[in-house]
């Protein structure tokens, strides 16, 4: 009986994921309302539960894809994968007010450039402080601080070792998680209230996953504006990392 039920869930992966995520959302909304009196947004709690489930999945299977590695919940991998994630992000563009978006155009570009440069410099300095002296390793770790995709793409392009690549991915992942979890709490400090401020945030905070989840948990209406800018962030990082930033780093550390 139990085996049969397990088989049903396994053969209907995506549908199981819908049910599971629905349950997580329900629990989060209840927790938000009754435990925090609505002060912590339900979406934020749901994302933290998601991360917790990912940790549990990683411990259980030793895999790299969190809960999606547990065969019963493999559908989560499809539901939260790049395809449906991008599909849903694009759909949020339907709510964009064109006038608002246009107003932030130039600031968005500046935020994007700063959002690539500043994390790179911080990451590179940390790498240097911990004893990395070769330009390849410093660049790769610095790029990891931009996003967890820019790190390995840059590392692969300039020939970094696999442990440095893993470090750069870890740096980017921690950054994404920090942004996801920290944004709702820091929303007031960041001044996240207008479409324009969301676009500045999207450009500077970078990681699409961090920005979109963080904004979703702060104010759902700001998501499309932040995501619109943030989607260019990884591309810009992948472009600058192995080229301009690498040459600059090599010129400095020799």
């Amino acid at each position: 009986m139990l085996e049969l039920l397990e088989g049903t869930a396994r053969h209907n992966g995506l549908v199981t994921a819908f049910a599971l995520v629905g349950l997580v959302m329900l629990v989060s909304m209840k927790l938000s309302r009754h435990l925090t009196m609505g002060r912590v947004h339900g979406s934020a709690i749901a994302i933290v539960i998601g991360l917790g489930l990912a940790y549990w999945g990683g411990v259980q299977t030793g895999g790299t894809k969190g809960l999606a590695d547990v065969s019963l919940f493999a559908g989560v991998g499809l539901m939260g994968g790049a395809m449906l994630r991008d599909f849903a992000i694009v759909a949020t563009a339907f709510e964009v007010q064109v006038v608002e978006a246009k107003k932030a155009g130039m600031v968005g570009v500046v935020a994007l450039l700063l959002g690539t440069l500043l994390p790179f410099v911080v990451g590179a300095c940390v790498a240097y402080a911990f004893g990395y002296r070769d330009a390849v390793s410093i660049t790769t770790i610095g790029a990891g601080a931009v996003t967890y995709i820019v790190g390995p793409v840059t590392g692969a392009a300039i020939g970094a070792t696999s442990d440095v690549m893993a470090l750069s991915i870890a740096a980017g992942l921690i950054k994404a998680i920090l942004v996801m979890v920290g944004t709702p709490a820091a929303a007031k400090f960041l001044g996240l209230r207008t479409p324009r401020s969301a676009m500045v945030f999207g450009g500077l905070a970078g990681t699409v996953s961090g920005v979109s989840a963080g904004l979703a948990a702060t104010d759902r209406r700001l998501v499309p504006y932040g995501a619109l800018v943030a989607t260019f962030h990884t591309g810009l990082g992948c472009l600058l990392g192995p080229s301009l930033l690498f040459f600059a780093t090599r010129a400095i550390v020799g």
Binding site: A54, A91, I174, G182
Partner: protein, 141 residues
């Protein structure tokens, strides 16, 4: 029909990703450059144009709006498949690099957004059609 909206969304998505790949190839970045962003811009343009032509009945809009509303659940699923273990095992270098860059960026964001505060304060946010009218979609069909 609802599928018209979803199909429009799908076409914008595919075209945007394709153009992003093309752009990445052209400038030698070996990755997708702004594909999702391009897709979003395409969808915005398509909506404006079709509204003007009167080709955007409520049913069609629902086909897009549903996926926009599915966004948060999808993000939760995305969070559930992050490599949290590796992130935690990265040790002090990864942690410091991440915390450092987040703090620096947060301060710059706050700085930029504070500077613009006075002007932007009066602007009301657009009303979210899904959150504002929770009872209308799907069931009120």
């Amino acid at each position: 029909m609802i599928i018209y909206g979803t199909a429009l969304l799908a076409i914008c998505h595919l075209l945007g990703i394709f153009l992003g790949d093309l752009l990445g190839n052209l400038i030698g970045a070996k990755t997708n450059v702004g594909g999702v962003g391009i897709a979003m811009i395409l969808l915005i343009c398509a909506r404006l144009w079709m509204h003007k032509k009167g080709w955007m009945p409520e049913q069609t809009e629902m086909g897009v709006a549903f996926w926009g509303a599915m966004y948060i659940p999808v993000v939760v699923a995305m969070a559930a498949q992050q490599n949290v273990l590796t992130a935690l095992r990265g040790g002090p270098v990864a942690l410091l690099a991440a915390v450092g860059s987040v703090v620096v960026c947060a301060c710059v964001i706050a700085l930029i957004n504070r500077g613009e505060k006075v002007e932007e304060d009066t602007l009301p946010l657009p009303v979210d059609p899904i959150l504002a009218t929770p009872a209308t979609p799907v069931t009120a069909r």
